[in-house]
Amino acid sequence: MATPPLPPVDAQRAVLLGPEGGDVGAVQSGWRLALREFMSNRLAVVGFGMIVFFVLFCFVGPLIYRTNQIDTNLIIANEAPSGAHLLGTDTNGFDELGRIMVGGQAALEIGFFAAVVAIVIGALWGAVSGLAGGIVDSVMMRVVDVFLSVPFLFVVLILAVKFGASVLSLSLVIGFFAWQVPARLVRGEVLTLRERDFVLAARTAGSTSWRLISRHLLPNALGVVIVNVTFQVADAILAVSYIGFLGFGLHFPNVDWGDQLSAGTEYLQDGYWWLIYPVGACIVLTVMALNFIGDALRDSMDVRLRRR
């Protein structure tokens, strides 16, 4: 690579003094543009509203719609929806609507924590790999390939059986096997970012690799990370529902949506629809809302698609 002729001293100083300030300013106007783009996407706003609704529904709902989720009451088991129980009762006599709120708390918590775990591991892995380059990069990317090849659901199920299922363990297990895609995305970003002048400037100023990654590379790769977070949450919620449906999710009296749906299927032939379709709709709508947001974020971050 030919070294370009040195710029005049003033310009050099400007590069040294102002790289972060100048760049952050540019990024912020980019963020504002992206926000405007995001808000102009109707589906994204709908999706965002749905997520806000589900978070309020699951975490604030139980404070307003008070139900007994502690004592089983077999006398009122499997009752159809009525004024006392808006969505009827389940096999144990729990109020189904209240139960969905409780199950939703677990689903949203696991989805969020698993996504955080996956993003943190993936972003660091990708940044280190991209910055290091050479043989380290190849080895780290082959590790990503290995993790991508092993079927996700199978490993997660095996570990859920081995280590038992709680909100924390499921979050860790799912997150620990879902970091490959963010790692690849962040590495791709870092590969282009590390050739930019502000990284050169930071290096010249004596930044350590860690500072380079945490202060310069990751903040500038934030766009792809944010897009990926929403998809990670959606995938994690789906994964939890699969685990719960197969019966290896949270243990009674804790409950998640998949678990609930699985219990309801025993009564499919009896026509107890309130045990199946409301909770199924909750899973689909939550995941769909997150996918809407993710798609819209990706479009709004993608400069090529942005309207001028």
């Binding site: 092993v150 199978f154 789906l238 197969l246």
Partner: protein, 315 residues
């Protein structure tokens, strides 16, 4: 092209070795020694130690790994102490049924998604496109067990056209002939795959539609029908090759859920049963087989793409 394939082959082998280490570590963490299963619950710790020693289960980890690889290469995928049967024998009973379910679903999905995606891109933003896009979006966000349940509710309970249970026959030919039992499982798996395929197909067709050669074909007065059939379809289908290779993990997971919902005696149901019996040798062997299938599938897809796309051959 030869160097490209050779490099790709070496990468695949490296990844396969990585996969074997991964599975071995997992096996070691979950099921370090079958001593308890062999000697019974009454066995004293000293007996277990002695058994481990004489059977090589207290060797250094690296020796145990090489031993594990050696048995794998000789076609021994382990032994299920719960079923008292070798894992290979367990797989052999069921592999044909699972392969049939996945295979026909994949073929149907491609047959449906190819024209659907092209139609959607050509008639962009029409009512048909919007309906198909919405349907794909809903299916894409839907857990496959919920889709299966809805299909059972509609087509087996409300309108009893099909059976809610898959064919229970041991003979593959009976299973293939049993459309009454097999329609719903196949439809479930197919719809899930179509949802993701048609999205890719739509965007890949839109990319091709923006190419210069399409404009040239139209400018020289070629009828739209010929523009589509001669210039568009083949080019737009190329990403499908990669997509089929990449769809294997989703198919395996779909198999697991679909077989559980419809009680179809395939490999997915075996995995589910083994989870309930905590039968780690079977679980790990199936995961390994799945991972190998994924690596091989991606490699084959890459080769197929170089054959189908001359631009890659030249590069």
């Amino acid at each position: 092209m030869i160097t490209y394939l050779a490099r790709r082959f070496v990468t695949s082998v490296v990844v396969l070795i990585g996969v074997s280490i991964f599975i071995f570590v997992l096996l070691h963490a979950t099921f370090p020694t079958p001593a308890r299963a062999v000697l019974g619950l009454q066995a004293r710790p000293s007996q277990i130690n002695a058994w481990n020693k004489s059977n090589g289960y207290d060797d250094p980890v690296i020796v145990q790994y090489l031993h594990y690889i050696n048995t794998l290469i000789h076609g021994n995928f382990g032994y299920s102490y719960v079923e008292n049967q070798s894992v290979v024998a367990l797989f052999q009973e069921r592999v044909a049924r699972s392969a049939y379910l996945s295979g026909i679903s994949l073929v149907l999905a491609v047959i449906i998604a190819l024209p659907l995606g092209i139609f959607q891109a050509v008639k962009r933003n029409s009512i048909g496109d919007n309906v198909a896009t919405s349907a794909a979006f809903i299916l894409y966000s839907m857990p496959s067990f919920f889709l299966g349940l809805i299909l059972i509710q509609v087509f087996a309970l409300s309108f009893p056209i099909f059976s809610f249970e898959a064919s229970q026959s041991n003979s593959l030919w009976v299973v293939i002939g049993d459309w009454n039992g097999m329609t719903l499982p196949i439809a479930t798996l197919t719809l899930i795959v179509v949802a993701s395929f048609s999205r890719y197909m739509r965007s890949s067709t839109m990319d091709v539609l923006a190419q210069d050669y399409i404009r040239v074909a139209r400018a020289k007065g070629l009828p739209e029908r010929l523009v589509l059939s001669r210039h568009l379809v083949r080019n737009a289908s190329l990403p499908m090759v990669t997509l089929i290779g990449l769809s294997l993990p989703a198919l395996l997971a779909g198999n697991l859920i679909t077989e559980q919902v419809f009680n179809f005696q395939g490999l997915g149901l075996l995995f589910f049963d083994s989870l309930e019996k905590v039968d780690y040798p079977v679980l790990l062997a199936y995961t390994l087989a799945g991972a190998v299938l994924v690596v091989v599938g991606n490699f084959v897809a890459d080769i197929a793409l170089t054959v189908a796309d001359p631009r890659i051959r030249l590069a």
